[in-house]
């Protein structure tokens, strides 16, 4: 085992332990914080596939996070009012079933990622950063101006959606659900990075010309990575909306894109557990510093600056060193 895998195991242990500790201390809100960490980490796992493996600096992942959230909001609000989403040419009704919502969230955000990626990947470098940002902003302003689902005010969903066999309104059950999904996403991400596809993607990041020379088109690799990445972030958006039972255009704002990026970078770009470490640290800081000062974001800013300037490779990179060679 490498040092990184010990750190990953330690992090898993801490994340699993935290709810037990919270329960024994009688501090139920910690469960919600842990759920939030898991869901935001999931969004980061999505971005990490594009950013870490593919080297695609997307500043517009809020688009997929928001689409996932709105998929949940639209389906659940129609189910809430027993009003079909459309009745022509085929009848589509709302649903409160989580697996169905997740499927819709992933498919719609994957389709959006396919479209955005196909257009954006024609550019590179700083133009790619900016065009992804532009697509995110486009959707942000669209949802603000779209009155059907609350417009700027957002939309509340009164009862959390249903998962067969569970009572999702019990914090522990929703927490376990989020942990399990995060676990699957991590497993998938780990497999992906070792699969031929992941290796080719990594190679395309390091040297696109060589990949092209051996007969693989970098554009298609990147597009597929972007779609997978968008779908996972979309799933996180649906879960996040379910956690808060609320959706609003803020999910699409560029701050959200920035924060998802922060999770990945704080933890360590391209590291399997980077997003988990980053999201956990972010929420922990928000929780600890938010209690000390109203202006806690100053400290977050200073810390982030310090990580970028001095601790390259993020939390996991600093702890584990460069032995895995994620260049």
């Amino acid at each position: 085992m490498t040092r990184e895998s010990y750190i990953n195991a330690g992090l898993t242990f801490l994340l699993v332990l935290a709810p037990f500790w919270a329960w024994s201390m009688g501090q139920a809100y910690i469960l919600t914080l842990c759920t939030k960490v898991a869901i935001l980490a999931l969004a980061g796992v999505g971005l990490n596939i594009a950013l870490g493996l593919g080297g695609l600096v997307s500043f517009g992942h809020a688009a997929f996070f928001g689409i996932g959230g709105y998929a949940m909001g639209i389906l659940a609000s129609h189910a809430q009012t027993f009003d079909p989403i459309m009745d022509w040419p085929i009848l589509i009704e709302g649903t409160k079933s989580m697996p169905m919502i997740w499927l819709v969230a992933m498919i719609t955000s994957a389709l959006a990622a396919l479209l955005i990626g196909a257009l954006s990947l024609r550019t590179s470098g700083v133009y790619f950063i900016m065009i992804t940002l532009a697509f995110g902003q486009m959707l942000y302003y669209f949802t603000i101006g779209w009155p059907a689902y609350g417009g700027e005010d957002g939309l509340s969903i009164y009862v959390r959606n249903i998962f067969p066999g569970l009572n999702t309104l019990v914090p522990v059950q929703f927490l376990i659900l989020s942990y399990v999904i995060l676990g699957f996403a991590l497993l998938f991400s780990a497999r992906l990075s070792r699969a031929p596809f992941g290796l080719a993607l990594t190679a395309a990041r390091q040297n696109a010309d060589r990949v092209e020379t051996v007969g693989i088109a970098p554009f298609r690799l990147r597009l597929v990575a972007f779609v997978i990445s968008g779908a996972i972030t979309g799933l996180a958006g649906a879960l996040f909306a379910d956690l808060n039972r609320f959706i609003s255009p803020t999910m699409f704002s560029w701050h959200t894109s920035g924060e998802i990026m922060i999770f990945v970078i704080l933890g360590g770009v391209g590291r399997l557990y980077g997003p988990v470490a980053g999201a956990a640290l972010f929420i922990l800081l928000e929780h600890l510093l938010g209690g000390v000062s109203d202006y806690w974001k100053i400290f977050l800013g200073v810390l982030l600056l310090a990580v970028v300037l001095f601790a390259r490779g993020g939390l996991i990179g600093t702890l584990a060193g460069r032995e895995v060679g994620h260049g």
Binding site: V126, A134, G145, K297, L309
Partner: protein, 305 residues
């Protein structure tokens, strides 16, 4: 739609475009010469506006307020360049985006800490308030006309600075080949600080000028920042001419789109739906324009790479 209303909206678009140019000029210079993406540029806009509001509140003089906005933004710009930004020139864009995002957090929250969460107000001075009548019978606020003129003067000055002065030659040389001008004995790090402070001062001035029309509050720089990025991406990053063309395009499109689209949809939709669809499409329009430009010309209208 009457001609008068149309002309007035054209002028609004022009005014918005000119202000965007002041923001975008610094952003594009910094990218062109130093290769740096500076998300914190919007914070400098905010600092300029706050400095102007504070000085105007204390002295009552609008001219002093404008000078304060230039000085405060330039000083803040020089300070962050010396402490943080210069460590980022050799880093990749990801590090730059993150570090300057961190600067936004620090500067926004810092400003909120000093000035509080309530918006400040900067009043238009008496000698610039009220409407003027332009040829053709167009009634237009004098202050907005004044900032169009002021912005155009600054734009001309900036072009002259870059085309005609020694500093301008150094800036252009810096864009072309950094190592070479260092080899010619020019203090490159001083040049960088100077360019950064110049861009910051322009952003601060824009903040102060716009601050008198809107309220001065934390976060005011962010929406403008994103628009300024749209501008420089459309124009081609690094090109001042591109920034001017992009700024006018974005200013006009945003203003005219917001006015014309609801009217256009009203031709075949009922009024409330037309307003909603028109307004939301209107605010998406510039992003659609940017996406189209990038798809047709992946490095912007005047981009070189």
């Amino acid at each position: 739609m009457t001609f008068l209303l149309f002309a007035e909206q054209m002028l609004n678009g022009l005014q918005f475009g000119i202000m965007l140019f002041l923001m975008a000029a610094g952003l594009t210079l910094v990218f062109g010469v130093m290769g740096l993406i500076n998300l914190a540029h919007g914070s400098l806009y905010m600092i300029g506006a706050f400095a102007a509001a504070a000085v105007a509140g204390a002295t009552g003089s609008f001219v002093l307020a404008l000078i304060a906005s230039l000085a405060a933004a330039a000083a803040a710009g020089a300070l962050i360049e010396l402490t943080v930004i210069r460590r980022l020139y050799k880093r990749d864009h990801l590090d730059q985006v993150l570090a300057t995002f961190a600067l936004i957090l620090i500067l926004s929250e810092g400003t909120r800490w000093v000035f509080g969460s309530f918006p400040l107000y900067l009043d238009v001075p008496g000698y610039l308030s009220g409407p003027v009548t332009l040829p053709g019978g167009i009634q237009y606020p004098l202050y907005r006309l004044a900032i169009i003129v002021a912005g155009l003067v600054v734009a001309v000055g900036l072009f002259a600075l870059i085309a005609r002065t020694r500093i301008g030659i150094q800036i252009r040389a810096g864009e072309a080949d950094r190592e070479m001008i260092a080899a010619l004995g020019i203090d490159i790090s001083r040049l960088y600080t100077l360019i950064f402070a110049l861009g910051a001062a322009l952003a601060g001035l824009a903040g102060a000028l716009v601050g008198a029309i809107q309220s001065v509050q934390v976060g005011m720089g962010e929406s403008v920042l994103i628009l300024a990025f749209v501008v420089i991406v459309i124009g081609g990053i690094g090109s001042i001419k591109g920034a001017l063309v992009g700024a006018l395009l974005v200013g006009m499109t945003d203003t005219m789109g917001g006015v014309l689209l609801p009217r256009f949809f009203a031709l075949f939709l009922d009024p409330t739906a037309a307003t909603a669809v028109g307004a939301s499409l209107g605010s998406m329009l510039i992003y659609i324009m940017m996406a189209v430009v990038l798809i047709m010309r992946p490095s912007g209208l005047y981009g070189s790479a």
